[in-house]
Each structure stands twice: as C-alpha cells, then as structure tokens.
C-alpha cells in the first residue's frame, strides 16, 4: 500500500509501515494495529482527518482480520471514544467513500453488517455537516445518498442475509429520524434533536420536503415488510422504531393500523411462535408509549390502548397506567353485558356509560344516598337557585332562537376522528404541520373522497406542499425522489391537510339549553317496614341464595384463575368491587355466622347447606380448592369463637373436613392440589392425618402419600409428631417397596435437621434394640379405620403369627443401616446389640451382612476389625467373607489389618480362609497348619478347606498364583513338623 504520510508521529509511521506490509506475518500486522489503537486510546489528540483517511485504506486490505479491525476502530472512534464532534464531522469526507465501497463490495457479511451499523451512527453527523456547510459538502452528501440507496436495495435482493437486514433496519431508523420534523409533543428536547428543523430553508443541496417524503416512504416500506419478512426482521423494525415513536409520534398511527388489520388478517407467512414474538414486540412498544407522560393527553393514546387490547393486553392489566386500567375495567364490564356500550362521536375517549340503562331502583338509591349526605341548608340554597334559573329560562324561551350556522351544523354532524384531533392540535404550533403517515389503503380511500369533494369546501386554506405518491409497496426511494413534486395532480397529502384544517378551525360551541327541571317538594323518605317471613320461607330463601352463589361461582371459567389470582365479578352499587374470593367468603359466612342456630330445624338446614357445598366442591375439587379453604377457615374460626363462649359447643370444622376427605380420597389422584389443600387448612388433627394411610397402602398412590406426609412434616410443625409417627412406622413396614419409600423420605432430614434428625436416629436405634427381645414388637396398625383408629382385635390377630424371622430382622435393620451410611460411627451400636442377642438372632443378623458391607464400605470394615467386641468374631468373619467374595482382590490394607488382628487376638484358622489366598508364598506355608487344623473330618469343613486351596492355587487376573500345586502338596506332607496330627494332614 502506498501511503502518503502526513503524520509526524514516528511511532504511528512505524506501526502503519508494519501493518501495511503484506509480506509480514498476519499476527505481526494485527499487533501493529492494536498497538496503534493503544496509542490513540491514550493520546486522542493524534487523530486527525488525514490519519482517518490512511486508516480507511486498510478497509481494502486482503486480510479479513485487518478489515475487521479497521471497521471496529472506526466504530470505536465515532461511538465510544468521545472525540470532538467537529473533528468527526471534518473527517467524514475522508472516510465515507471507502466505507461506501465496503458496503457495496465487501465479501464478509460480518464486515458489511458493521459498516452499515457504523453508517447508522454517523448519518446524523453527515446531515449536520451538510446542513452547516452548504457549499463544500456536495460530494459527502452524494456518497452518503448512494450508500443509502445501496443499503435499501438489500431489502429487494432475495439473497440478502437476515443479519444484513437487521443492520439495515437500524440504519433506516437513523435516516427516518433525521429526515423528519420535530413535533411539539415529542419526548425529545428540540435543541438536542437532529431533525429537518436544522436544515436552512434555501439550502442548495438539501430539500427538506423531499427528505421528509423519503422518510415517509421508508417507514411505509418498512411497514410493508411485515407481510413478507421473517419475525426476526419484523421485531427488529418494531424495536428500532421504538425511539423514533418517542421523538416522532407522527409515525405511530400506521403501526396502529397494522395491528387493527392483523386482528382479522394476521400475516399468514409466519408460524405460530414467530407471530407471537412479533405481536409481543408491538405490544411492548405500544404499552411503553402509553406510559410516557407527554403522550398521556395525546389523541392517539386511546388508539394505542385499543391496539394493545387487540394484541391481548387485556390479560395483563397491570402493565397499563392507572387511567387505562380503569378504562379496561369499564370495557370488561361492557363485554360482560352488564353495561351497554355507547360510543358516541368521540369514540373511545368518551366515558362508555349510558346512564339511561341503569335500573330505576338503583338510581333512586343513589339519589337517596346523595341527598342524605347533603346538609339541609345547602339543599335549600340549591332549591332556590333552581327556581331562579327556571324563571330565567322561561323568560328566554319567549325569544326566537337563531338557526345554526353551516359550520356549526357540519361540525356537530361530523364524527371526530382522533387522528384528525391530533393533527388539529399540532397545527397551530408548527409552521408547516408534519404529514400524518398513512397506509396505502387509507390513501386510496382519501383519493376517492377528494375526487368527490367540491371546491366550495374551504377554498381559503392552501396546502403547504403537494407530495408525490410515497406509499409504494417496495423500498424504491429513488423513484419517489425523482417524481416532480411541483406537479399538483397527486393531491393526497393536500386533501388530507385540507380536511384536517376544516376540522381544526376552532368554532364556538353553541350554548346548550338546560333541561326543564320539574318542580317537586322534598319530603323525608321512609322505608317501609320489612315483611315478616315464616321459618320455611326463610330457609328456602337461604337455600336459594346459596344455590345462586354456587351457580355464579361455577360459571366463572377456571382458566381465569391462573391469570389473575382474584377475579373481579362486578362493581357494586357502592363502588366497591366484588371479587371471587369475596363471593366465597360470603357463602362461608352465611353458613357459620349468618344463621340463627337456636332451633333444631335451623341446624338441619345448616347441615343441608354444608352438604350442598361439599357436593359442589367434590364436583371439581381441583378448581374449587380455594373455595373449600375459605370455607374451612371460616368454620375453624367460628368454632374457636363459639368454644370460647360455650365449651360444650360441638365443633363443625373437624366433622366436615373429615367428611370432605372421606369422599375425595378414594378417587383423588392429583398430588399438588391435595397436598396443598392439607397444607393450607387451618388445623390438622391426628385423625385427619391418619387418612393418609389410605394412600400409603395403595401401590399406585404411595408416592402421593409420602409426598404429602413429607410436606406436612416440613411445613406444618404442629402436626409433625403424629406425621412422624406414621412415617417412622412405615420405615418398619413388611413390604420392601413401601419400607424403602418411607426410609428414603425420612432420610431427607438425617442428619442435618436439628429436631427431626435425632428423632429418626433414636427410632432406628430403638428398632435394632428390639432385636434383643424374644418376640418382635406388635405391628403398627397400618390400616385406616373409619371411626376406630386403634382396633385392638385386628392388631392382636396379626400379632399371633409374629415370630422373629429373616424378614422381621431385615425390616428392623433397614432404617438403621440407611442412617449408618450417613453417620458411620453408629455402626458400633449394632455390634454392641449383636453380642447381647441369642445365637439364633445372631445368625439372622449375619444374613444381612451384604447390606452391611455395602453400608460401611472398606473404611468401616477396617474400623470394625480393629474395634469389634468379644463375641462378635463370627459377625466380623462373615463381613470379611462377604467383602472378599465381592472383590477380586481385596485392598492390601485390609489383608494386612486382618492378618495383624488374627495374630494379636490369636483367632482361629477359619479367619484366614477369606484372606490367605492373598498372602505371599512364605506366609501361606507358615499359616497352612492353622487352616489344616480346622479340619474335623466333616464333609462341610472339608469342602470349605478345599475351596480355600482352590483359591490359593487360582492365579489372579494379572499375575501368577502365589504357590503351585506341587509346592502345596509338599507343604501338606511336611505338616507333621508343625504339630498337625497325621489324620488331619492326610485329610488335607
């Protein structure tokens, strides 16, 4: 690269030399550029337009990395570096041509994307520069315009990648913002806003009208892309336009139109999830606009609100500002049919209530309440004022009324469109009002209207400019820009403005005549005395009232519950809201505090009503759990009050809770709702919890049972004792699967839980201590019996069959072994119990050696060898045998420990059986007499010794046997020297 350096700094010269030398290693060149950037980061004053020009030369380098560094460096200097704005503007002319080349010809998508985004950042700067220097910036503006055209062409090219489109959207956002005018109700301060206002009226290069038209065409083009682009590009457009809406609210309306169009014709090219994402993006942007204080009073605010509702915003009312939440409730009410929708000429901005639809008794009540709150003095004053006014009006009525003017008539007839209101508001404050951006359909409609309109409409109002057709489907801005704007044939904007202005002329409102006031006398109002009802009528009314409440509750969709915790049913006449919870509360209180229970008949009615509620809850327990809980809370509270007043009172809570449980439990399968229900009822008693046994005994619903009991133990400490009692009893259950589930549930709390952990430990120790007893302890009653928790006969019957057997020992050991795996020191307790038990029991315990070995592991086994008490030798031997049988080669540490303990305690030869095969040759020969000594002429013992010999002679997988058969035979022949009798030697 031939570089004409104008830089005086030698360091930069050297680095650029190195970076531009294509013969050098790629890494060295990159490092040179990185070093250069480090210098610039510390000494920003070194940057000047000439240097930028040299740097831009790297954009045409053959190496991708160098080109990428260059565009990154430009991004750094223009966006994050904080350089002087005038330096940046002066440098643009040197940079833009090369960046333009990159946008058009670069191969790497990544670099093109970065170049487009850099252009998005500098577009306002270019515009500012061209505005300020009208005569030396023509080249800059023309290059920038060609870049703009190139970027827009990307949307027409079928092979354009999504990433490039995303970046192009951001660039166009920048163009739209710059080429639009600032309006008074935007969120941006005019001083900081780079808009058309910056352009002098007679600028030789820039034509504000043309630029604005181009911006409108671009935004329409972007909206048209909604019908063909992917959701990625659509969401990019929506989110890119977010800041534009804040500074240029005139562009919001077309988006609202699209939403309304989507209500009936959603884009069919998008699958479900991308369409959802696109709608969501629009909803977020529109909702955020509603929260902007400047837009609160804007006429398009209600349109935005309606659009959000179309997009499903109704389901999330908390997102709306307060006034819209109120409006939403009113709309909800109307949709429910409780109010008639009466949209007048003012559209959705008017309060949607028709007072004529109110029921007469309600109106009378309201008037009565209002009058009660007004002091008599004020009423008298008001009465006098009314009488005076009536007299005055009567005098006026005698005069002739002038006919309304044409304008007044037209205005009163015309339906006010909120869009037009917006334009009217903007008009007086803006010298030339911003055009309302319209969609293509709308323009066609207006064209038709304009052709029908007469010149006599209002010939004094002149359009300020007459734009060409800017609403093409595609992004052919070049075409739009070349249309001769002086030709007045296309009058769309013209017509629009004319119509707007006709509407916008402020006219005095005619003074409406007040309605004639009837003269009547104010008299004190007295309610008639209440009608007396018979008991039967009362009870029938109550039954019907409850039935009605339940019917209303049933009609509410269960789906609504998930979305909002408390559904508002209606607004009462006193202005308070009636929610679903309150409905439940009302029904519950009617049963408890609402009825007089003095007579037997009343009590019977009350029970009937409770039965009615039980039936209602049972129909759909899952969705009516809330109702059930509200009811039981109320019953429990009422019981506690009644008991404090009268100790002989029979509480209802337990009776009815038990009745409900008895009916739902046989069929219930939904774990979450049942458990949650038991966790939330106000009080649990042993009898109630005892019902969980039904689940625990059912193999299909056992997990639900254990889950429930575990949650109750965890979250309801008062009911923990009796829940623990059940759980621990199931840890000794005969069925291995049930027992296993109970043990794993209990194990959760061991050893960490400070209260439950010790409880489990003491129960496990107690259960192994019971092994010392002659008979197993009586079995826990695992059955649930209605009204007879402890049926002694049943327990006795089962216990007659009970004698210690292997299964009993196993179930008493399981929980203990399970906690031993977490706390190994407990294992010593088993040994101390083992030595106290009779021989038969010891045998049964030893049968569980495989489980124990698994529990204690090698460390426990070593510890056992070193510490076992006298009398536990067989136990230890069994453990050793099990372990060595399981392992191909036991660890040397175990063999050595066993060897030394056998020596120390002088243990019998049978202790050598499991480990002798792992001794060395000399040791085997030395210990062989001990083995032979165990032979007692029985077949069983002979078999054992035979197996030991086989083990000694079998070579391990990766080695040779420690002793050969011939050596063994020789050793056996020399036994007599070791004091072994000849008989035993021969047997050996």
């Amino acid at each position: 690269m031939d570089i004409q350096y104008s830089i005086q700094d030698n360091r930069i010269n050297v680095l650029f030399d190195r970076a531009s030398d294509s013969k050098k290693d790629q890494q060295l060149r990159i490092e040179a550029l990185i070093s250069f950037q480090q210098i610039i980061e510390n000494e920003k004053h070194l940057l000047e337009p000439g240097l930028f020009q040299i740097i831009c030369g790297f954009l045409k380098d053959s190496m991708f990395e160098i080109r990428e560094w260059t565009i990154d460096f430009l991004e750094y200097t223009f966006t994050t570096c904080g350089l002087n704005r005038s330096l940046l503007k002066d440098s643009l002319g040197k940079i833009i041509p090369t960046v333009g080349y990159t946008v058009s010809f670069e191969e790497s998508t990544n670099i093109v994307k970065k170049a487009i985004l850099w252009n998005a950042g500098v577009y306002p700067l270019i515009y500012e520069r061209v505005c300020e220097n009208a005569y030396d910036a023509e080249q800059l503006w023309s290059t920038s315009t060609s870049i703009k055209s190139q970027i827009m062409r990307y949307f027409d090219s079928p092979g354009t990648k999504q990433g490039i489109k995303i970046c192009a959207v951001k660039y166009l956002q920048s163009v739209i913002k710059v080429q639009s005018r600032h309006v008074h109700d935007s969120q941006v301060v005019p001083q900081n806003d780079i808009s058309l206002a910056l352009c002098p009226p007679s600028h030789p290069i820039l034509n504000p009208l043309m630029l604005e038209k181009e911006a409108i065409a671009i935004i329409n083009g972007l909206y048209n892309l909604f019908d063909k682009e992917s959701s990625i590009v659509i969401t990019a457009i929506i989110n890119a336009l977010g800041p534009v809406f804040r500074s240029r609210p005139q562009y919001i309306y077309p988006l609202i139109k699209i939403v309304k169009k989507w209500k009936h014709n959603p884009p069919d090219h998008l699958p479900e999830t991308p369409l959802k994402s696109a709608k969501k993006a629009i909803k977020i942007q529109l909702t955020s606009l509603l929260r902007i204080p400047v837009f609160e009073s804007s006429s398009f605010a209600n349109e935005i609100f309606d659009s959000i509702l179309i997009l499903g915003g109704k389901n999330d009312p908390m997102k709306f500002p307060r006034q819209y939440r109120r409006l939403l409730q009113q709309k909800d009410g109307m949709e429910d049919g409780t109010r008639q929708k009466v949209y007048g000429a003012q559209g959705s901005s008017m309060l949607p209530i028709d007072p004529t639809q109110f029921a007469l008794p309600f109106v009378v009540d309201v008037i009565h309440l209002a009058l009660q709150s007004i002091p008599q003095e004020r009423l008298n004053q008001a009465k006098q004022a009314l009488q005076q006014r009536e007299a005055r009006l009567a005098a006026l009525r005698t005069l002739p009324t002038p006919p309304p003017t044409n304008k007044q008539e037209r205005r009163s007839r015309k339906t006010l469109d909120p869009r037009l209101e917006f334009v009217r508001e903007a008009t007086p404050k803006s010298p030339s009002p911003p055009p309302v951006v319209m969609t293509e359909d709308e323009m066609t409609l207006i064209k038709t209207e304009s052709s029908n309109s007469t010149q006599s409409e209002d010939s004094t109002i002149k359009p300020e400019f007459s734009p060409p057709n800017l609403y093409d489907d595609d992004m052919e801005i070049d075409d739009a820009a070349t249309v001769d704007i002086e030709v007045p044939q296309d009058q769309q904007m013209d017509v629009l403005e004319t119509e707007n202005k006709v509407d916008s002329i402020p006219e005095p409102e005619p003074q409406p005549l007040p309605p004639p006031v009837p003269s009547f006398k104010f008299q004190p109002y007295a309610l008639p005395s209440p009608e007396t009802l018979s008991d039967d009528q009362c009870h029938s009314f109550i039954r019907n009232a409850l039935k009605n409440i339940l019917e209303i509750d049933a009609m509410l969709s269960p789906d609504a519950k998930g979305k909002r915790s408390d559904v508002v049913l209606t607004t009462l006449s006193n202005g308070k809201r009636m929610s679903k919870n309150q409905l439940h509360m009302m029904a519950s209180r009617l049963l408890t505090r609402g009825l007089d229970l003095s007579s037997e008949k009343s009590k019977k009615t009350c029970d009937e009503l409770r039965e009615m509620i039980i039936q209602y809850i049972l129909e759909d327990f899952k969705n009516r759990t809330d109702f059930a809980l509200t009811w039981f809370d109320e019953e429990w509270y009422h019981d506690s009050i009644m008991l404090s007043e009268d100790p002989s009172y029979k509480p209802n809570y337990v009776i009815w809770l038990n009745r409900l449980l008895d009916r739902i439990m046989p069929t219930l399968e939904d774990r979450i709702f049942f458990t949650q229900f038991l966790l939330n009822v106000p009080e649990l008693q042993e009898d109630i919890v005892d019902r969980i046994k039904i689940f625990l005994n059912d193999p299909d619903r056992m997990s639900l049972g254990f889950y429930t009991i575990s949650e109750l133990i965890n979250q309801r400490p008062p009911s923990r004792p009796f829940c623990m009692k059940i759980l621990l009893a199931y840890c000794l259950h005969k069925d291995i699967r049930t027992r296993g589930s109970a043990i794993s549930t209990a194990n959760k709390w061991f050893p960490d839980h400070p209260t439950i952990g010790p409880n489990i430990e003491s129960f496990a120790l107690q259960s192994i201590k019971q092994l010392c007893d002659e008979c197993p302890p009586p079995l826990f009653d695992y059955h649930y019996h209605v009204d007879s928790v402890n049926d002694p006969k049943m327990i006795e019957d089962e216990n007659e069959l009970m004698k210690w057997n292997n299964n009993d020992v196993e179930r008493h050991l399981d929980l203990f072994l399970s906690i031993c795996s977490k706390k190994s020191e407990l294992f010593d307790q088993l040994l101390s119990i083992y030595v106290k038990t009779p021989e038969s029991m010891q045998m049964l315990i030893r049968k569980n050696a495989p489980k124990m070995v698994e529990t204690v592991g090698i460390n426990g086994l070593l510890n056992l060898f070193l510490t076992f008490p006298e009398g536990a030798e067989d136990f230890v031997l069994k453990m050793l045998v099990v372990y060595t049988n399981k392992q191909v080669t036991p660890p040397a540490q175990l063999v050595n420990t066993a060897k030394s303990v056998i020596m120390e305690r002088n243990l019998e030869g049978r202790f050598l059986f499991p480990i002798i095969a792992f001794f060395e040759k000399g040791e085997i020969i030395r210990n062989l007499p001990k083995v032979i000594n165990t032979l007692d002429a029985t077949d069983k013992q002979r078999d054992i010794v035979k197996k030991v010999f086989l083990k000694i002679l079998t070579p391990p997988p990766n080695g040779t046997a420690p002793i050969t058969p011939s050596e063994l035979l020789v050793s056996l022949h020399q036994m007599d020297k070791a004091g072994i009798s000849l008989k035993q030697s021969v047997e050996g």
Binding site: N110, K161, C167, T235, A236, I238, N239, T273, A278, Q285
Partner: protein
C-alpha cells in the same frame, strides 16, 4: 472471541444465577441481572418477604438470613442458594442500572423480565447501534425448575456459541426450532438494539 450472554430474571438470585453458574462453569462469557425494583427473597410467611436493594452482597444476605432463622432458610434452600451465589459474584445486579455493556444474546427467564429488557433497551435510545437477540424462556421460580431451566439454557447457549455457527442472525431461528424439539418451554424471540 466468543459471544457475550446475559441471563436475566426478577431478583438475580435463583434462575439467572443458576444459569450464570452453569454457563460460567462451561467457560461462556456471561453476566446476570434482575429486573425487579429490589431483591425479594421468601420470608417466614408470604406477607413478610426479605427485601434487599440491588447491590447488597450475597454474603451479607446469607449472614442476615442465617442470623434470622437458620433452620427455616436452610430448609427452604435459600442459604444454599446464597452460598452458591456468593461464590459466583459479589452482589445481585439490576438490569436497568448495572447492565452497562452490550451483549450478543440476552436470555430472560420470565415474560415480565423480557418486557422490561425490550422496553429498557428502547428507552436507552439505541445509540450504540448494536443488535442483540433477546430470548425469553419461561421458567418457574423454584429451585427444581431453575436447575432444569439452567440446563436448558446451557444447551441453547452451546448451540449458539458454536464454531459451526458463522452467522448467528441467519441461524438463530433454526437453533431455536431445534432447541424447542428437546425442551418444551414457551419462548419469545426478538431483535433489540443497544
């Protein structure tokens, strides 16, 4: 250089921190944030949550809860969660005030957070001209779901930050489709700009 990720939930405690934990363990460049106004942790009852301002160190929260009721908070898993969090970073960060840098991919764990992120990015003015993929994955706010969600996010991030993916903007729809075959989460996806 790999992609930069942000994971966002309401309080920057459970879901986002679980994802932060698994992603940073696998070497991804990840930050995590919360979108709430304050950090809310369950208390002894639903009406009495523990509320801390963003920026309160996790360690301080741990000590505070430990001094209040060690049994309760050990049992409901809060102490373990805070213990994990304090090993990852100093304190919970708030999206709107602490997320100063740009990210390539932002993953929110709740629709509410997704709304806040999109809205906040617009409010910032999109001055940096940097597009980002914002993805919402609805994860319930409990320990189990957070763990499962963390794994699902890890899988997604592994699919995104893969050497085979040369143009993420092009591939993202396919990646999400592929990912959704394995994980049945409801997702939202959009492009927003820093």
């Amino acid at each position: 250089m790999g992609k930069t990720f942000a994971v966002v939930c309401a309080s920057n405690q459970n879901r986002s921190m679980e994802a932060h934990h698994v992603l940073s363990k696998c070497g991804f460049q990840v930050s995590s944030y919360g979108t709430g106004s304050a950090v809310r942790l369950p208390g002894p009852s639903i009406e009495r949550p523990n509320i801390y301002p963003f920026g309160t160190p996790y360690d301080l929260m741990y000590q505070d809860l430990y001094s209040k009721d060690p049994k309760l908070y050990k049992q409901n898993g809060l102490l373990d969660m805070l213990d994990r969090n304090r090993k990852i970073k100093l304190a919970p960060e708030q999206w709107s005030s602490d997320a100063k840098e740009s990210f390539d991919v932002i993953i929110s764990c709740e629709e509410r957070c997704y709304d806040v992120i999109c809205e906040d990015m617009t409010e910032r003015g999109e001055l940096r001209n940097r597009p980002a993929h914002v993805i919402n994955i609805d994860i319930k706010d409990n320990h189990e779901d957070a763990m499962l969600g963390g794994r699902a996010i890890l899988q997604l991030v592994q699919m995104i930050d893969n050497e085979r993916i040369t143009d993420l903007d092009e591939e993202m729809p396919n990646i999400l489709e592929e990912w959704q075959k394995k994980y049945k989460y409801d997702i939202l996806h959009c492009i927003a700009y820093f």
